[in-house]
């Protein structure tokens, strides 16, 4: 299927990927809103240890696909498997409980809360003993040190103060907090929706590095992005969504950026899916 000759390493990498069973798999997802069909039988596979980019034009059904995977919408039909087990998410909480963490584009964090509070938002830890069980007292110290550790593991420990309000951080730092949260609590899959969209070049590159770090720590990542250079920089495989379906899966080695865009916009016929 390839028009270029991929390097040897990349071939090996690909064989390795397709060899294993997917962490997450979706088949025939359909979602209709009245007469509008957002998802028209969409499939998806995510393999262990990979960054899967999902790209598509506006209205291709990227958002609906991601929402279905993260529990933010319930598909009309179709199946989703996680580690081979069928799952049926009714709320974002269901997906989180199953180990899927999602970072949403603009709504990643609560700006007035500090970094540690944001990391533990919705899953605060209480003090041991009666202080926690009777007085419901939070274990600030433990959450802070844990937050420091998680941020440190992803190389964003240089923030002066874990007790700093998130709104006093730059866009890239905020996104860093959101990614750290998903990496800290996601046990199966991390989904990132346009994580670099609002960022400058330098900060965008920092976040890309974070995404690689998350993958290298063993968590597969689904990355939704409009930014082709970013996609080609970090993605192991690229899922192309068009008119509510997956039309092709390519890799940065198998297809050039312009070929990929041509498939995405329908200007070129999609290659067959293996």
């Amino acid at each position: 299927m390839s028009t270029q000759t991929p390097g040897e390493g990349e071939v090996l990498h690909r064989v390795e990927l397709t060899d294993r069973t997917p962490v997450m798999r979706a088949r025939g997802l359909v979602k209709r809103y009245g007469r509008v069909t957002a998802l028209d039988g969409s499939d998806l596979e995510l393999y262990p240890g990979e960054i899967l980019a999902v790209i598509g034009d506006n209205g291709a059904g990227k958002s609906s696909l991601i929402k279905a995977l993260s529990g933010a919408l319930v598909p009309d039909s179709g199946e989703i498997w996680l580690d081979g087990e069928p799952v049926h998410f009714r709320t974002p909480m269901d997906a989180r409980t199953a180990g899927i963490e999602t970072v949403y584009q603009t709504l990643a964090v609560a700006p007035g809360l500090d970094i540690a509070d944001n990391l533990f938002l919705g899953r605060e830890e209480r003090r041991p003993g009666p202080l926690g069980s009777i007085f419901r007292m939070l274990d600030h110290q433990h959450m802070r040190s844990e937050a420091q550790r998680h941020m440190g593991e992803l190389g964003i420990a240089t923030l002066q103060d874990i007790g700093q309000a998130v709104e006093s951080l730059s866009g890239g730092q905020r996104q860093g907090v959101a990614v750290a949260r998903s990496a800290a609590f996601g046990s199966k899959v991390v989904i990132l929706d346009e994580p670099t969209a609002a960022l400058g070049v330098k900060e965008g590159n920092r976040v890309l590095q974070l995404i690689r770090d998350v993958r290298d720590r063993g968590l597969p990542v689904i990355l939704i992005s409009h930014n082709m250079p970013h996609v080609f920089e970090v993605a192991d495989r690229i899922h192309i969504q068009r008119l509510g379906r997956r039309v092709a899966v390519v890799t940065p080695a198998s297809h050039s950026m312009s070929d990929t865009v041509a498939i995405m916009t329908g200007a070129a016929p999609p290659p067959p899916i293996e």
């Binding site: 933010a72 974002p92 909480m93 989180r96 999602t102 949403y104 709504l107 990643a108 964090v109 609560a110 700006p111 007035g112 809360l113 509070d117 938002l121 919705g122 899953r123 605060e124 209480r126 007085f135 419901r136 007292m137 939070l138 600030h140 190389g155 964003i156 240089t158 923030l159 309000a165 709104e167 006093s168 951080l169 730059s170 890239g172 730092q173 860093g176 330098k202 900060e203 590159n205 920092r206």
Partner: protein, 334 residues
């Protein structure tokens, strides 16, 4: 490892003040309070007398309690225009249950507290279930509760002497030297301590802030924001119910015709205390300071010989100043 995240802009003095105020929002109100106390003490030495200071505290106790409930609601980016109406109506219910229906004092108080809580719940249900803006909901219930208040009371005051002693117990004082502390003020301070703890040290407190800060982000983080909102209105209603008891002690009666200014005064105290009307930022300690600022200004201006009509003018200016500063602080950037 270099991360590119560690750069900081060179900070000007102005930036630094902005940062300090941003990190500690009660600092500004506290400075205003101290300054006001010093200035009024210099103008009229009677101001700092323990008798006068106890009077100031007694005068602000009811407003402070209403402002406490109000703070919780404003932290969620809401507003409660019915706070005073709930408190006054609750006090009328308490008094009439004891006086007309002959209920024992404690039972009448408890039932009044339940009614206050229910009125808060009505607000909360309208806000969360129907998705109406809190301003409109409480504008409506303000009218409804005041009207019911007139119907139930027949616009008649129940005198303290006609009620069981427990109903006005909150107005009794403990002398500390020549400072006279009322039981009502003690209850008020205890409740402030309690809610300070809840906001700072429990998950509920974090969720209240997160909901007010960015409701959608909180929801996506797995917080059931509707439940949080409802709980806040219910709890605020209960606090107004306690305020009703303290109000009867303060007035030594239950008067259906007081309290028209309570709603706005409670909001004033919250705003002066540094809690942002846009939600998520501030806290109850600031509100206590804010209520004290209102009390100190009203009392101090009188002692300074300023005509009563100018009180509103001065407090209005303070509110405008507080909101301006809040807007400025919110623009803080790293």
């Amino acid at each position: 490892m270099t991360t590119g995240f560690e750069e900081r802009r060179q900070e000007s003095a102005q930036d630094r003040i902005q940062h300090v105020l941003h990190d500690r929002p009660t600092l500004g109100p506290l400075a205003v309070l101290l300054l006001a106390v010093i200035v009024f003490s210099v103008i009229n030495t009677r101001f700092f007398n323990p008798e006068n200071l106890s009077l100031v505290l007694q005068q602000v106790t009811v407003i402070a309690l209403l402002a406490l409930g109000q703070t919780l609601i404003i932290l969620t980016a809401g507003i409660d225009l019915s706070a005073g109406a709930i408190a006054v109506f609750s006090s009328i219910l308490m008094a009439n249950l004891a006086f007309d229906a002959g209920f024992p004092g404690v039972l009448a108080l408890l039932l009044g507290l339940v009614f206050g809580t229910l009125m808060g719940a009505v607000n909360g249900i309208l806000v969360t279930r129907l998705g109406l803006p809190p301003f409109i909901v409480t504008l409506g219930t303000l009218s409804v509760f005041f009207s019911l208040n007139s119907v139930v009371s027949g616009s008649e005051t129940v005198r303290g002497s006609d009620m069981p002693a427990i109903m006005t117990w909150t107005g009794e004082t403990i002398p500390i030297g020549s400072f006279r502390l009322t039981y009502g003020s003690i209850i008020m301070l205890l409740l402030f301590g309690f809610f300070f703890y809840l906001l700072a040290h429990t998950a509920w407190g974090k969720h209240v802030r997160a909901t007010g800060d960015d409701a959608e982000a909180a929801r996506l983080a797995g917080i059931r924001t509707d439940r949080v909102l409802l709980s806040v209105y219910v709890v605020a209603g209960a606090v107004y119910g306690v305020a009703a008891w303290v109000l009867m002690g303060r007035l030594a009666s239950a008067d259906p015709n007081v309290g028209t200014e309570y709603n706005l005064d409670s909001i004033t105290a919250v705003v002066l205390g540094g809690t942002s009307l846009f939600g998520g930022r501030g806290g109850v300690i600031g509100t206590l300071v804010g209520a004290l600022i209102v009390g100190v200004f009203r009392n101090g201006l009188v002692l300074a010989g300023v005509q009563v009509v100018w009180q509103g003018f001065a407090i209005g200016l303070l509110v405008l100043l507080a909101v301006t500063i809040d807007q400025w602080i919110r623009k803080v950037r790293a």
